[in-house]
């Protein structure tokens, strides 16, 4: 299949998937429990209040009308209003999103780096003790609940050694990094690490890293197992290929052979895996954020659960789903672009 045909068909595929996703969420939140508004309120409540909320949130209309409002709303960027204070959910999500993004990126980087490195080491010592240890490490890290690992790290590094903070995103005595300001123009990414660099404030940069480190390490470690396994298998096969032996026959250094020859060629599946793991990353992020009081989408969802703010939760869940769809689309397209079989 040509590249163009693939790209088009892949993009077209995303549309029905997003629709199914939206429908699923709608069914779960609006239809499943019966009446989300009633579920929101405590038992003895004034029916007038219930009716008021219904009208304000547009939940008094017939179901199919609600569905259309909802779907069109999503495409317009309107995710409804919060049951708590009727403010737009989209705004709240938008402000919580960068924190989750920062956590997600740094965790994925750690997972990939740790996973690839350990996978390479394991593949070079097939069936020897180091290989076994690394494989067991990968399995055990998968089996630990991410919040438990987070708490252990908090205990060791935060409470015990007192090297790193145990919660929040930034030193409470500092203002959040503002990013780049040129005259009246203002540019910020919402990622504290980058914004503090843009601001030129090294102290804030270091602080933001200190706060980012433990949560990313936690989430990254739990995810690394998959990368370890994948890299190990791929490297093992690639190292057996002719051009690797030929490289050794020319007397090149082992590190050159491992990284410039074998790894560069085995890397592509790892890239795809990053995309595939994104869903698991977001799921883990919810628990990690809760553990570290990291103010992102995960904390947002859990808070809304406590408030029984079902419309807000619906909006957040939709955002999660759309994020995953977009990321997997991008990764698929990237892979198609890079895979020589399709490109040539």
């Amino acid at each position: 299949m040509t590249l163009r045909a693939y790209v088009i068909s892949r993009i077209l595929l995303t549309i029905p998937m997003i629709f199914i996703l939206l429908t699923m969420v709608f069914v779960v939140i609006r239809i499943l429990p019966g009446d989300p508004v009633l579920a929101h309120f405590e038992k003895n409540v004034d029916p007038a209040l219930v009716e008021e909320m219904r009208v304000k949130l547009g939940l008094d209309k017939p179901l199919w009308a609600q569905y259309f409002d909802y779907v069109f709303g999503v495409f317009r960027g309107d995710l409804g209003k919060s049951m708590y204070d009727y403010s737009p959910v989209a705004e709240q999500i938008f402000s919580a999103f960068p924190a989750t993004l920062e956590l997600a990126i740094s965790s994925m980087i750690i997972a990939a780096l740790v996973g690839i490195f350990l996978g390479v080491q394991a593949s070079k010592r097939y069936n020897k003790p180091v290989d076994h240890t690394i494989r067991i490490f990968g399995i055990v890290t998968y089996a630990i609940p991410v919040f438990l690992l987070g708490m252990i790290l908090q205990l060791v590094f935060g409470v015990g050694l007192r090297w790193l903070p145990v919660g929040l995103r930034m030193n409470p005595m500092l203002a959040a990094p503002q990013g780049l300001t040129i005259g009246a123009l203002h540019f910020s990414t919402g990622l504290y690490t980058i914004d503090s660099l843009l601001e030129g404030n090294m102290f804030k940069f270091v602080e933001s890293l200190r706060y980012l480190f433990l949560p990313s390490l936690t989430l990254g470690t739990v995810l690394s197992g998959v990368f370890i396994r994948l890299t190990r298998t791929n490297m093992f096969e690639t190292m057996r290929l002719d051009f690797v032996t030929a490289a050794r026959a020319r007397g090149l250094r082992e590190t050159t052979v491992t990284y410039r020859y074998a790894l560069r060629n085995a890397f592509l599946p790892v890239l795809t895996m990053i995309g595939l793991q994104f869903a698991a990353l977001l799921a883990g992020a919810v628990l990690t954020e809760t553990t570290f009081s990291w103010p992102g989408l995960g904390t947002y969802v859990v808070d809304r659960i406590n408030f029984r703010d079902y419309t807000a939760i619906q909006g957040a869940v939709v955002v999660f789903g759309i994020l995953v769809s977009i990321v997997s689309l991008v990764v698929d397209l990237l892979y198609a672009y890079l895979d020589p079989r399709i490109r040539l």
């Binding site: 097939y126 032996t245 050794r248 026959a249 020319r250 007397g251 560069r264 040539l344």
Partner: protein, 332 residues
């Protein structure tokens, strides 16, 4: 029988080399007790069918026998130095610089994600760190002229070159550091006939120009008959005949060598009967007792089935592993 050759007098001396693969199902002796010598401006042909151990022999000379293989015994001496005892770091110095290896399939022997010029720069700078990138590229261009590729191609990726060009690149890489020995494993099998002859001629020209020794590993006896000075015929891991190419052609001794010779089509003969050797190579996990070849040999005698024959020296520098010649030994 075989004299322990004086390591100092030849460029490359191999004595009693034995290589085994230790697999889960058992030990496989891919090469047993191989011995030969090689001098500068000499070409040694190593002939045998698949599984005869010829590739393993080649790889063992640079100690790159793949897992689970290992060199079990024997000596390899390069310019008087014992290679077999070398540690990995020392061996890395030998590979590519003193002994070069040209692999069979040029398509799969180059790094697909690196440009050709990077292959050269990498190679030269690894062995000679003081050389700058520009100097390395100059050398590469010179090598391209030697092997006959246009200089512009140096910026290409491997997949942009034809098979013949890729093989020339491999040869250029093999030459880059002026090695003493080049081992070419089936250098022409993956190429078409027209290109084959060119590549083989090229190898010999370069051999003479740079004063190297050449080892040609192939299954095709016709190639080595013309272009090598001496030939080793291998069967099931053993050297069954070792002679100059002239002697091998005119006074072929081992029945297997004779069979190989008979299966070469000769365009000048009308009504030539092409004879294939009946049967197939033995299973090296459970080899037959006695001479490895007896099940396929038309001259098999009772003693062939009992014990493996040693190498008999029938003329000066003509050795054959066959009981047919046991009385013709040229005793010193």
């Amino acid at each position: 029988m075989i004299e322990q050759t004086n390591a100092e007098s030849h460029l490359l001396t191999v004595n009693g080399l034995t290589v085994e693969y230790w697999t889960r199902r058992g030990k496989i002796r891919a090469v047993e007790n191989a011995s030969f010598t090689l001098d500068r401006r000499e070409t040694l042909g190593v002939v045998g069918e698949s599984g005869s151990g010829k590739s393993t022999l080649g790889l063992s000379l640079i100690k790159l026998v793949p897992y689970p293989g290992r060199i079990v015994s024997g000596d390899i001496n390069l310019e008087g130095q014992n290679i077999r005892r070398m540690k990995d770091e020392e061996m890395r110095d030998v590979r590519g610089r003193r002994i070069s290896y040209v692999f069979q399939d040029p398509m799969t022997s180059l790094n697909p994600v690196e440009k050709i010029k990077d292959h050269f720069v990498e190679l030269i700078q690894t062995h000679e760190p003081k050389v700058s990138k520009t100097q390395a590229l100059e050398r590469a261009n010179q090598l391209f002229r030697d092997v006959g590729i246009q200089e512009e191609r140096i910026s290409d990726y491997p997949h942009q070159l034809s098979g013949g060009m890729r093989q020339r690149v491999m040869i250029a890489l093999a030459l880059a550091l002026n090695p003493s020995v080049i081992i070419a494993d089936e250098p022409t099998t993956a190429l078409d006939v027209v290109v084959q002859a060119k590549i083989l001629d090229l190898l010999n020209t370069l051999r003479d120009r740079y004063g190297m020794a050449l080892i040609l590993i192939t299954h095709d006896l016709s190639i080595v008959l013309q272009r090598s000075d001496k030939i080793i015929v291998m069967y099931a891991g053993r050297i069954v005949e070792y002679a100059s190419s002239v002697d091998l052609y005119s006074s072929t001794q081992h029945p297997y060598s004779q069979g190989l010779l008979n299966s070469i089509p000769n365009i000048e003969l009308i009504d030539q009967k092409l004879e294939a050797i009946e049967g197939s190579p033995p299973d090296l996990l459970n080899p037959p007792k006695g001479c490895r070849f007896w099940p396929r040999c038309s001259f098999a005698m009772p003693e062939c089935r009992i014990e493996e024959p040693p190498l008999f020296e029938t003329k000066k520098n003509h050795l054959v592993r066959c009981y047919l010649y046991k009385d013709e030994t040229n005793d010193q």
